[in-house]
Protein backbone atom coordinates (compact mmCIF):
# COMPACT_ATOMS: atom_id res chain seq x y z
CA UNK A 1 0.00 0.00 0.00
CA UNK A 2 1.29 3.44 -0.87
CA UNK A 3 1.92 5.48 2.27
CA UNK A 4 3.23 8.55 0.55
CA UNK A 5 2.61 9.84 -2.92
CA UNK A 6 4.16 12.87 -4.54
CA UNK A 7 2.60 14.14 -7.75
CA UNK A 8 4.49 16.63 -9.84
CA UNK A 9 5.77 18.58 -6.82
CA UNK A 10 7.50 21.85 -7.64
CA UNK A 11 9.10 24.41 -5.39
CA UNK A 12 10.42 27.84 -6.28
CA UNK A 13 12.32 29.94 -3.76
CA UNK A 14 12.93 33.58 -4.61
CA UNK A 15 14.79 33.03 -7.88
CA UNK A 16 13.61 31.83 -11.30
CA UNK A 17 15.21 28.36 -11.07
CA UNK A 18 13.13 25.74 -9.28
CA UNK A 19 14.54 23.87 -6.27
CA UNK A 20 12.14 21.04 -7.15
CA UNK A 21 10.84 20.60 -10.69
CA UNK A 22 8.02 18.14 -11.08
CA UNK A 23 9.01 15.45 -8.60
CA UNK A 24 6.75 12.40 -8.53
CA UNK A 25 7.13 9.09 -6.74
CA UNK A 26 5.32 6.83 -4.29
CA UNK A 27 6.66 5.18 -1.18
CA UNK A 28 5.31 1.97 0.31
CA UNK A 29 4.85 1.26 3.99
CA UNK A 30 8.02 0.05 5.69
CA UNK A 31 10.24 0.98 2.79
CA UNK A 32 13.73 2.37 3.35
CA UNK A 33 14.28 4.99 0.67
CA UNK A 34 17.52 6.87 0.25
CA UNK A 35 17.65 10.17 -1.60
CA UNK A 36 21.00 11.00 -3.11
CA UNK A 37 22.21 13.87 -5.22
CA UNK A 38 24.79 16.63 -5.34
CA UNK A 39 24.77 19.60 -2.97
CA UNK A 40 21.97 22.01 -3.80
CA UNK A 41 20.04 19.38 -5.75
CA UNK A 42 16.96 19.92 -3.60
CA UNK A 43 17.15 16.97 -1.19
CA UNK A 44 16.47 18.97 1.95
CA UNK A 45 13.76 20.93 0.18
CA UNK A 46 12.07 17.70 -0.88
CA UNK A 47 12.08 16.30 2.65
CA UNK A 48 10.75 19.51 4.19
CA UNK A 49 7.93 19.71 1.67
CA UNK A 50 6.66 16.33 2.82
CA UNK A 51 5.87 17.50 6.36
CA UNK A 52 5.28 21.04 5.13
CA UNK A 53 8.11 22.71 6.96
CA UNK A 54 8.29 24.37 3.53
CA UNK A 55 5.22 25.17 1.44
CA UNK A 56 5.28 23.68 -2.04
CA UNK A 57 4.68 25.93 -5.04
CA UNK A 58 2.80 23.35 -7.07
CA UNK A 59 1.82 19.70 -7.25
CA UNK A 60 0.27 17.42 -4.68
CA UNK A 61 1.51 15.36 -1.76
CA UNK A 62 -0.63 12.58 -0.31
CA UNK A 63 0.21 11.01 3.04
CA UNK A 64 -2.10 8.04 3.48
CA UNK A 65 -5.33 9.62 2.32
CA UNK A 66 -4.45 13.13 3.52
CA UNK A 67 -3.71 15.84 0.98
CA UNK A 68 -0.79 17.47 2.78
CA UNK A 69 -0.90 20.87 1.12
CA UNK A 70 -4.60 21.41 1.88
CA UNK A 71 -4.41 20.77 5.63
CA UNK A 72 -5.49 23.42 8.09
CA UNK A 73 -3.18 24.34 10.95
CA UNK A 74 -4.64 21.89 13.43
CA UNK A 75 -4.64 19.01 10.96
CA UNK A 76 -1.12 19.91 9.93
CA UNK A 77 -0.01 19.41 13.54
CA UNK A 78 -1.70 16.02 13.49
CA UNK A 79 0.08 15.12 10.27
CA UNK A 80 3.42 16.11 11.73
CA UNK A 81 2.93 14.01 14.86
CA UNK A 82 2.76 11.01 12.54
CA UNK A 83 6.03 11.90 10.80
CA UNK A 84 9.31 11.96 12.71
CA UNK A 85 12.28 13.98 11.57
CA UNK A 86 16.01 13.54 12.13
CA UNK A 87 18.54 16.25 11.36
CA UNK A 88 22.19 16.50 10.43
CA UNK A 89 22.92 18.76 13.39
CA UNK A 90 20.59 16.80 15.71
CA UNK A 91 18.62 19.99 16.54
CA UNK A 92 18.38 19.21 20.25
CA UNK A 93 17.92 21.75 23.02
CA UNK A 94 21.48 21.34 24.24
CA UNK A 95 20.85 22.57 27.74
CA UNK A 96 18.08 20.10 28.48
CA UNK A 97 18.58 16.50 29.52
CA UNK A 98 18.26 13.51 27.22
CA UNK A 99 14.87 12.51 28.60
CA UNK A 100 13.48 16.03 28.22
CA UNK A 101 14.61 16.21 24.63
CA UNK A 102 13.13 12.81 23.85
CA UNK A 103 9.80 13.74 25.41
CA UNK A 104 9.61 16.71 23.04
CA UNK A 105 8.47 14.12 20.53
CA UNK A 106 5.19 13.86 22.47
CA UNK A 107 4.33 17.56 22.26
CA UNK A 108 2.20 17.19 19.14
CA UNK A 109 -0.14 14.86 21.02
CA UNK A 110 -0.71 17.20 23.95
CA UNK A 111 -2.79 20.24 24.67
CA UNK A 112 -0.84 23.44 24.33
CA UNK A 113 -0.92 24.09 28.08
CA UNK A 114 0.30 20.63 29.05
CA UNK A 115 3.08 20.97 26.52
CA UNK A 116 4.04 24.45 27.71
CA UNK A 117 4.30 23.22 31.29
CA UNK A 118 6.04 20.01 30.27
CA UNK A 119 3.47 17.72 31.88
CA UNK A 120 3.91 14.21 30.52
CA UNK A 121 1.99 11.13 31.56
CA UNK A 122 3.60 8.15 33.26
CA UNK A 123 3.17 6.05 30.13
CA UNK A 124 4.84 8.63 28.00
CA UNK A 125 7.81 8.83 30.34
CA UNK A 126 8.15 5.04 30.46
CA UNK A 127 7.97 4.78 26.73
CA UNK A 128 10.66 7.44 26.45
CA UNK A 129 12.84 5.61 28.99
CA UNK A 130 12.48 2.38 27.09
CA UNK A 131 13.38 3.82 23.76
CA UNK A 132 16.37 5.58 25.29
CA UNK A 133 17.51 2.32 26.87
CA UNK A 134 17.12 0.40 23.67
CA UNK A 135 19.16 2.97 21.82
CA UNK A 136 21.94 2.35 24.34
CA UNK A 137 21.67 5.61 26.23
CA UNK A 138 20.40 4.17 29.52
CA UNK A 139 23.33 5.67 31.40
CA UNK A 140 22.82 9.15 29.99
CA UNK A 141 19.09 9.63 30.63
CA UNK A 142 19.58 12.62 32.92
CA UNK A 143 22.68 13.98 31.28
CA UNK A 144 22.55 17.30 29.50
CA UNK A 145 22.75 16.92 25.75
CA UNK A 146 25.74 19.22 25.38
CA UNK A 147 27.77 16.60 27.24
CA UNK A 148 27.07 13.89 24.67
CA UNK A 149 29.11 12.82 21.66
CA UNK A 150 27.75 13.38 18.17
CA UNK A 151 26.67 9.78 17.79
CA UNK A 152 24.87 9.87 21.13
CA UNK A 153 23.14 13.12 20.21
CA UNK A 154 21.89 11.59 17.00
CA UNK A 155 20.50 8.65 18.96
CA UNK A 156 18.62 11.15 21.12
CA UNK A 157 17.30 12.59 17.86
CA UNK A 158 16.17 9.13 16.78
CA UNK A 159 14.54 8.54 20.16
CA UNK A 160 12.67 11.82 19.87
CA UNK A 161 11.35 10.74 16.48
CA UNK A 162 10.41 7.24 17.70
CA UNK A 163 8.54 8.48 20.74
CA UNK A 164 6.14 10.13 18.33
CA UNK A 165 4.96 6.67 17.23
CA UNK A 166 5.49 7.80 13.66
CA UNK A 167 4.41 6.04 10.51
CA UNK A 168 7.31 7.56 8.68
CA UNK A 169 10.62 9.17 9.59
CA UNK A 170 12.40 11.76 7.47
CA UNK A 171 16.17 11.88 7.89
CA UNK A 172 18.11 14.85 6.53
CA UNK A 173 21.70 13.69 6.27
CA UNK A 174 21.64 11.89 9.63
CA UNK A 175 25.29 10.86 9.50
CA UNK A 176 26.91 13.81 7.74
CA UNK A 177 28.46 15.11 10.97
CA UNK A 178 29.53 11.74 12.35
CA UNK A 179 32.65 9.61 12.15
CA UNK A 180 32.43 6.24 10.33
CA UNK A 181 32.04 4.36 13.59
CA UNK A 182 29.08 6.35 14.87
CA UNK A 183 27.66 6.51 11.33
CA UNK A 184 27.45 2.75 11.15
CA UNK A 185 25.70 2.55 14.52
CA UNK A 186 23.14 5.14 13.45
CA UNK A 187 22.53 3.53 10.06
CA UNK A 188 22.10 0.11 11.65
CA UNK A 189 19.50 1.54 14.03
CA UNK A 190 17.69 3.17 11.14
CA UNK A 191 17.67 -0.12 9.24
CA UNK A 192 16.20 -1.86 12.28
CA UNK A 193 13.54 0.80 12.54
CA UNK A 194 12.51 0.28 8.94
CA UNK A 195 12.66 -3.51 8.89
CA UNK A 196 11.85 -4.37 12.50
CA UNK A 197 9.19 -1.80 13.23
CA UNK A 198 7.72 -1.28 9.81
CA UNK A 199 8.29 2.46 9.89
CA UNK A 200 8.86 4.05 6.51
CA UNK A 201 12.17 5.86 6.18
CA UNK A 202 13.19 8.53 3.73
CA UNK A 203 16.80 9.37 4.18
CA UNK A 204 18.92 12.04 2.46
CA UNK A 205 22.45 10.79 2.18
CA UNK A 206 25.71 12.08 0.85
CA UNK A 207 27.50 8.75 0.92
CA UNK A 208 26.50 6.65 -2.10
CA UNK A 209 27.94 3.45 -0.67
CA UNK A 210 25.96 3.85 2.54
CA UNK A 211 22.80 4.34 0.50
CA UNK A 212 23.66 1.25 -1.54
CA UNK A 213 24.28 -0.85 1.53
CA UNK A 214 21.24 0.05 3.59
CA UNK A 215 18.31 1.10 1.46
CA UNK A 216 15.57 -0.83 -0.31
CA UNK A 217 15.33 1.83 -2.94
CA UNK A 218 17.29 4.80 -4.14
CA UNK A 219 16.01 8.06 -5.57
CA UNK A 220 18.64 10.18 -7.27
CA UNK A 221 17.90 13.84 -7.86
CA UNK A 222 19.80 16.52 -9.69
CA UNK A 223 18.75 20.14 -10.14
CA UNK A 224 15.35 19.41 -8.62
CA UNK A 225 14.51 16.52 -10.95
CA UNK A 226 14.33 12.81 -10.23
CA UNK A 227 16.97 11.21 -12.43
CA UNK A 228 17.02 7.75 -10.89
CA UNK A 229 14.38 5.80 -9.02
CA UNK A 230 14.96 2.13 -8.43
CA UNK A 231 16.61 -0.56 -6.36
CA UNK A 232 20.23 -0.17 -5.30
CA UNK A 233 21.17 -3.19 -7.38
CA UNK A 234 20.39 -1.44 -10.64
CA UNK A 235 22.35 1.69 -9.82
CA UNK A 236 25.40 1.48 -12.04
CA UNK A 237 28.48 3.64 -11.97
CA UNK A 238 27.28 5.45 -15.08
CA UNK A 239 23.90 6.24 -13.54
CA UNK A 240 25.58 7.48 -10.41
CA UNK A 241 27.77 9.87 -12.31
CA UNK A 242 24.67 11.06 -14.12
CA UNK A 243 23.04 11.86 -10.76
CA UNK A 244 26.09 13.75 -9.62
CA UNK A 245 26.81 15.23 -13.05
CA UNK A 246 30.45 14.15 -13.11
CA UNK A 247 32.67 11.70 -14.94
CA UNK A 248 32.25 8.28 -13.39
CA UNK A 249 35.94 7.91 -12.62
CA UNK A 250 35.95 10.94 -10.38
CA UNK A 251 33.41 9.67 -7.91
CA UNK A 252 34.70 8.23 -4.71
CA UNK A 253 32.42 5.25 -4.42
CA UNK A 254 33.64 1.92 -3.23
CA UNK A 255 31.63 -0.32 -5.50
CA UNK A 256 32.97 -3.41 -3.79
CA UNK A 257 31.36 -2.54 -0.51
CA UNK A 258 27.79 -2.85 -1.73
CA UNK A 259 27.97 -6.60 -1.47
CA UNK A 260 29.67 -6.62 1.90
CA UNK A 261 26.66 -6.31 4.14
Amino acid sequence: MALLELKNVTKYYAGPTPALAGVSFTVKEGEFVSVIGPSGAGKSTLLRCINRMIEVTGGEILFGDLAVSKLKRRDLRKLRTGIGMIFQHYNLVDRLTVIENVLHGRLGYKSTLAGVLGLYSREEKMQAFNIIKILGLGEQVYQRCDQLSGGQKQRVGIARALVQNPKMILCDEPIASLDPNASKIIMDYLKKIANGMGITLICNLHQVNVALAYSDRIIGINKGKVVYDGPPGKLTADLTSEIYGTESGELIVDWGERYAS
Partner: protein, 294 residues
Protein backbone atom coordinates in the same frame (compact mmCIF):
# COMPACT_ATOMS: atom_id res chain seq x y z
CA UNK B 1 33.25 -5.17 12.44
CA UNK B 2 31.63 -2.73 14.84
CA UNK B 3 29.71 -4.12 17.79
CA UNK B 4 26.60 -2.64 19.29
CA UNK B 5 26.52 -1.67 22.93
CA UNK B 6 23.03 -3.11 23.29
CA UNK B 7 21.58 -6.29 21.92
CA UNK B 8 19.34 -5.55 18.99
CA UNK B 9 16.85 -8.33 19.59
CA UNK B 10 14.66 -6.16 21.81
CA UNK B 11 13.76 -4.20 18.71
CA UNK B 12 10.76 -6.30 17.91
CA UNK B 13 9.39 -5.47 21.34
CA UNK B 14 9.19 -1.75 20.81
CA UNK B 15 7.24 -1.86 17.60
CA UNK B 16 3.83 -0.23 18.05
CA UNK B 17 1.93 -3.50 17.65
CA UNK B 18 3.67 -5.06 20.63
CA UNK B 19 3.16 -2.03 22.80
CA UNK B 20 5.99 -0.51 24.79
CA UNK B 21 6.92 -2.83 27.61
CA UNK B 22 8.79 -1.67 30.67
CA UNK B 23 12.19 -3.20 31.30
CA UNK B 24 13.80 -3.38 34.70
CA UNK B 25 14.03 -0.30 36.85
CA UNK B 26 13.72 2.22 34.03
CA UNK B 27 10.06 2.88 34.70
CA UNK B 28 10.69 3.52 38.37
CA UNK B 29 13.22 6.28 37.77
CA UNK B 30 11.98 9.65 38.92
CA UNK B 31 11.53 12.20 36.17
CA UNK B 32 13.97 15.07 35.93
CA UNK B 33 16.09 15.50 39.01
CA UNK B 34 16.98 19.19 39.09
CA UNK B 35 20.59 19.76 38.10
CA UNK B 36 22.70 22.61 39.47
CA UNK B 37 22.15 24.96 36.55
CA UNK B 38 18.40 24.45 36.49
CA UNK B 39 18.21 25.01 40.24
CA UNK B 40 20.32 28.16 40.08
CA UNK B 41 18.20 29.43 37.20
CA UNK B 42 15.03 28.99 39.23
CA UNK B 43 16.45 30.67 42.31
CA UNK B 44 17.66 33.56 40.17
CA UNK B 45 14.27 34.03 38.50
CA UNK B 46 12.50 33.78 41.86
CA UNK B 47 14.75 36.34 43.54
CA UNK B 48 14.55 38.83 40.72
CA UNK B 49 10.75 38.46 40.51
CA UNK B 50 10.36 38.98 44.24
CA UNK B 51 12.59 42.05 44.17
CA UNK B 52 10.56 43.44 41.30
CA UNK B 53 7.24 42.82 42.99
CA UNK B 54 8.52 44.37 46.22
CA UNK B 55 9.80 47.39 44.32
CA UNK B 56 6.57 47.88 42.40
CA UNK B 57 4.50 47.58 45.58
CA UNK B 58 6.55 50.12 47.49
CA UNK B 59 6.44 52.85 44.85
CA UNK B 60 4.78 55.97 46.16
CA UNK B 61 1.80 56.19 43.82
CA UNK B 62 -0.02 58.83 45.84
CA UNK B 63 2.12 61.79 44.88
CA UNK B 64 0.83 61.74 41.31
CA UNK B 65 -2.42 60.96 39.60
CA UNK B 66 -1.07 58.07 37.58
CA UNK B 67 -3.91 57.80 35.09
CA UNK B 68 -3.88 61.49 34.32
CA UNK B 69 -0.10 61.62 34.09
CA UNK B 70 -0.07 58.66 31.73
CA UNK B 71 -2.70 60.27 29.53
CA UNK B 72 -0.77 63.54 29.56
CA UNK B 73 2.44 61.76 28.65
CA UNK B 74 0.74 60.00 25.77
CA UNK B 75 -0.57 63.31 24.59
CA UNK B 76 2.85 64.90 24.95
CA UNK B 77 4.43 62.09 22.98
CA UNK B 78 1.87 62.65 20.27
CA UNK B 79 2.84 66.29 20.03
CA UNK B 80 6.53 65.46 20.10
CA UNK B 81 6.41 62.90 17.36
CA UNK B 82 3.66 64.24 15.16
CA UNK B 83 4.18 67.98 15.36
CA UNK B 84 7.89 68.69 15.60
CA UNK B 85 8.71 72.29 14.90
CA UNK B 86 11.46 74.90 15.22
CA UNK B 87 11.13 77.87 17.55
CA UNK B 88 14.26 79.16 19.21
CA UNK B 89 16.52 76.82 17.26
CA UNK B 90 16.66 76.95 13.47
CA UNK B 91 17.26 73.72 11.60
CA UNK B 92 20.75 74.95 10.71
CA UNK B 93 21.59 75.71 14.32
CA UNK B 94 20.34 72.32 15.34
CA UNK B 95 22.63 70.59 12.87
CA UNK B 96 25.53 72.72 14.02
CA UNK B 97 24.80 71.64 17.60
CA UNK B 98 24.79 67.98 16.53
CA UNK B 99 28.19 68.54 14.94
CA UNK B 100 29.43 69.92 18.25
CA UNK B 101 28.12 66.83 20.02
CA UNK B 102 29.87 64.65 17.47
CA UNK B 103 33.04 66.64 18.06
CA UNK B 104 32.83 66.02 21.81
CA UNK B 105 32.29 62.33 21.15
CA UNK B 106 35.24 62.28 18.77
CA UNK B 107 37.67 63.89 21.20
CA UNK B 108 36.49 61.56 23.95
CA UNK B 109 36.96 58.51 21.76
CA UNK B 110 40.38 59.70 20.62
CA UNK B 111 41.73 60.37 24.11
CA UNK B 112 40.12 57.21 25.43
CA UNK B 113 41.54 55.18 22.55
CA UNK B 114 45.11 56.44 23.01
CA UNK B 115 45.15 55.76 26.74
CA UNK B 116 43.32 52.45 26.34
CA UNK B 117 45.85 51.36 23.74
CA UNK B 118 48.65 51.35 26.28
CA UNK B 119 46.49 49.96 29.05
CA UNK B 120 45.25 47.29 26.64
CA UNK B 121 48.82 46.17 25.99
CA UNK B 122 49.33 45.90 29.74
CA UNK B 123 46.00 44.13 30.14
CA UNK B 124 46.53 41.46 27.48
CA UNK B 125 47.41 38.15 29.02
CA UNK B 126 49.73 37.14 26.21
CA UNK B 127 51.75 40.36 26.43
CA UNK B 128 51.99 41.24 30.11
CA UNK B 129 52.60 39.35 33.34
CA UNK B 130 49.61 38.23 35.33
CA UNK B 131 50.06 40.73 38.19
CA UNK B 132 50.05 43.63 35.74
CA UNK B 133 46.92 42.45 33.90
CA UNK B 134 45.15 42.05 37.22
CA UNK B 135 46.02 45.59 38.30
CA UNK B 136 44.80 46.94 34.95
CA UNK B 137 41.57 44.97 35.24
CA UNK B 138 40.90 46.23 38.77
CA UNK B 139 41.60 49.81 37.75
CA UNK B 140 39.27 49.53 34.77
CA UNK B 141 36.50 47.99 36.89
CA UNK B 142 36.74 50.85 39.37
CA UNK B 143 36.50 53.50 36.65
CA UNK B 144 33.44 51.79 35.27
CA UNK B 145 31.67 51.70 38.60
CA UNK B 146 31.46 55.50 38.80
CA UNK B 147 28.69 56.75 36.50
CA UNK B 148 29.92 58.94 33.64
CA UNK B 149 27.88 61.89 34.80
CA UNK B 150 29.63 61.84 38.17
CA UNK B 151 33.08 61.82 36.55
CA UNK B 152 32.03 64.83 34.51
CA UNK B 153 30.63 66.72 37.49
CA UNK B 154 33.67 65.96 39.63
CA UNK B 155 35.92 67.38 36.92
CA UNK B 156 33.62 70.32 36.49
CA UNK B 157 34.57 71.50 39.97
CA UNK B 158 38.16 71.98 38.82
CA UNK B 159 37.61 72.84 35.14
CA UNK B 160 34.21 74.50 35.28
CA UNK B 161 31.14 73.23 33.49
CA UNK B 162 31.74 72.95 29.76
CA UNK B 163 33.39 70.92 27.05
CA UNK B 164 36.67 70.37 28.92
CA UNK B 165 34.98 68.73 31.91
CA UNK B 166 32.64 66.78 29.66
CA UNK B 167 35.40 65.37 27.45
CA UNK B 168 37.69 64.45 30.34
CA UNK B 169 34.87 62.96 32.38
CA UNK B 170 33.56 60.91 29.47
CA UNK B 171 37.07 59.77 28.60
CA UNK B 172 37.17 57.69 31.78
CA UNK B 173 34.49 55.24 30.70
CA UNK B 174 35.88 55.12 27.18
CA UNK B 175 39.24 54.10 28.61
CA UNK B 176 37.60 51.37 30.64
CA UNK B 177 35.55 49.99 27.75
CA UNK B 178 38.28 50.20 25.14
CA UNK B 179 40.99 48.78 27.40
CA UNK B 180 38.96 45.65 27.82
CA UNK B 181 38.10 45.47 24.10
CA UNK B 182 41.67 46.12 22.95
CA UNK B 183 43.13 43.66 25.43
CA UNK B 184 40.78 40.98 24.13
CA UNK B 185 41.69 41.84 20.53
CA UNK B 186 45.39 41.57 21.37
CA UNK B 187 44.83 38.27 23.10
CA UNK B 188 43.50 36.80 19.88
CA UNK B 189 47.05 36.61 18.58
CA UNK B 190 48.32 33.18 19.41
CA UNK B 191 51.00 32.87 22.06
CA UNK B 192 52.98 30.68 19.67
CA UNK B 193 53.37 33.55 17.17
CA UNK B 194 54.81 35.73 19.91
CA UNK B 195 57.06 32.88 20.94
CA UNK B 196 58.29 32.48 17.37
CA UNK B 197 59.13 36.16 17.10
CA UNK B 198 60.87 36.39 20.44
CA UNK B 199 62.80 33.26 19.54
CA UNK B 200 64.07 35.13 16.49
CA UNK B 201 65.35 37.87 18.78
CA UNK B 202 62.60 40.48 18.49
CA UNK B 203 61.98 42.59 21.57
CA UNK B 204 58.63 43.41 23.15
CA UNK B 205 57.96 46.66 21.25
CA UNK B 206 58.97 45.08 17.96
CA UNK B 207 56.57 42.22 18.55
CA UNK B 208 53.79 44.65 19.45
CA UNK B 209 54.24 46.78 16.34
CA UNK B 210 55.04 44.04 13.83
CA UNK B 211 52.69 41.26 14.93
CA UNK B 212 50.16 42.27 17.56
CA UNK B 213 48.91 45.54 16.11
CA UNK B 214 48.69 44.46 12.46
CA UNK B 215 46.69 41.38 13.38
CA UNK B 216 44.39 43.27 15.75
CA UNK B 217 43.99 46.42 13.64
CA UNK B 218 40.59 45.60 12.16
CA UNK B 219 38.98 44.70 15.42
CA UNK B 220 40.56 47.67 17.20
CA UNK B 221 39.11 50.07 14.64
CA UNK B 222 35.73 48.38 14.87
CA UNK B 223 35.67 48.55 18.67
CA UNK B 224 36.72 52.16 18.56
CA UNK B 225 33.83 52.98 16.28
CA UNK B 226 31.39 51.08 18.50
CA UNK B 227 32.60 53.21 21.38
CA UNK B 228 32.13 56.30 19.26
CA UNK B 229 28.49 55.37 18.87
CA UNK B 230 28.14 55.06 22.66
CA UNK B 231 30.02 58.31 23.20
CA UNK B 232 27.65 60.14 20.90
CA UNK B 233 24.75 59.09 23.13
CA UNK B 234 26.82 60.02 26.21
CA UNK B 235 27.67 63.42 24.80
CA UNK B 236 23.97 64.10 24.32
CA UNK B 237 23.31 63.12 27.95
CA UNK B 238 26.21 65.20 29.28
CA UNK B 239 25.03 68.19 27.31
CA UNK B 240 21.75 67.92 29.13
CA UNK B 241 22.88 66.98 32.60
CA UNK B 242 26.22 68.73 32.90
CA UNK B 243 25.75 71.76 30.70
CA UNK B 244 28.32 70.64 28.15
CA UNK B 245 27.67 72.19 24.76
CA UNK B 246 25.87 70.49 21.91
CA UNK B 247 22.42 69.25 21.03
CA UNK B 248 21.90 67.64 24.44
CA UNK B 249 21.95 71.06 26.09
CA UNK B 250 19.32 72.34 23.66
CA UNK B 251 17.21 69.29 24.40
CA UNK B 252 17.45 70.03 28.10
CA UNK B 253 16.55 73.67 27.62
CA UNK B 254 13.60 72.88 25.35
CA UNK B 255 12.24 70.18 27.62
CA UNK B 256 13.14 71.28 31.12
CA UNK B 257 13.19 75.06 30.80
CA UNK B 258 10.90 76.25 28.03
CA UNK B 259 8.58 73.21 28.09
CA UNK B 260 8.53 73.42 24.31
CA UNK B 261 7.36 69.97 23.23
CA UNK B 262 7.53 70.66 19.50
CA UNK B 263 11.14 71.63 19.71
CA UNK B 264 11.84 68.57 21.87
CA UNK B 265 10.28 66.60 19.02
CA UNK B 266 12.48 68.20 16.41
CA UNK B 267 15.65 67.69 18.44
CA UNK B 268 14.68 64.09 19.20
CA UNK B 269 14.18 63.38 15.52
CA UNK B 270 17.55 64.89 14.64
CA UNK B 271 19.37 62.92 17.33
CA UNK B 272 17.48 59.79 16.30
CA UNK B 273 18.54 60.21 12.69
CA UNK B 274 22.22 60.56 13.57
CA UNK B 275 22.15 57.81 16.19
CA UNK B 276 20.46 55.37 13.84
CA UNK B 277 22.94 56.12 11.09
CA UNK B 278 25.78 55.41 13.51
CA UNK B 279 24.00 52.25 14.64
CA UNK B 280 23.68 51.02 11.06
CA UNK B 281 27.44 51.37 10.56
CA UNK B 282 28.13 49.77 13.94
CA UNK B 283 25.93 46.77 13.11
CA UNK B 284 27.91 46.27 9.94
CA UNK B 285 31.16 46.35 11.90
CA UNK B 286 29.99 43.90 14.55
CA UNK B 287 30.37 41.01 12.12
CA UNK B 288 34.10 41.71 12.03
CA UNK B 289 34.75 41.23 15.72
CA UNK B 290 34.46 38.15 17.83
CA UNK B 291 32.71 38.87 21.07
CA UNK B 292 31.26 41.68 23.11
CA UNK B 293 33.53 42.79 25.93
CA UNK B 294 30.44 43.28 28.01
Amino acid sequence: MIKFEEPIDIWGQISPEHGYTVHGAAGALPFKPLNRQALAMRIFLLVISLLTIYALLTIDYRSVDVAKAAADTLNNLKIIFLQPDTHRLSLRDAFYEVVITMGLAFLTTLFGGVIAFFLGLLGARNLAPKQVTNIVKGFVAFIRAVPTILWVLIFAVAAGLGSAAAVIGMTFHSVSYLTKAYAESFEELDRSVIEALSASGANWWQIVFQAVIPSAATSILSWTFLRYEINFANAVAMGAAAGAAGIGFDLFMAGGYYFDLREVGLITYIILAFAMALEAVATGLKGRIRQNPR
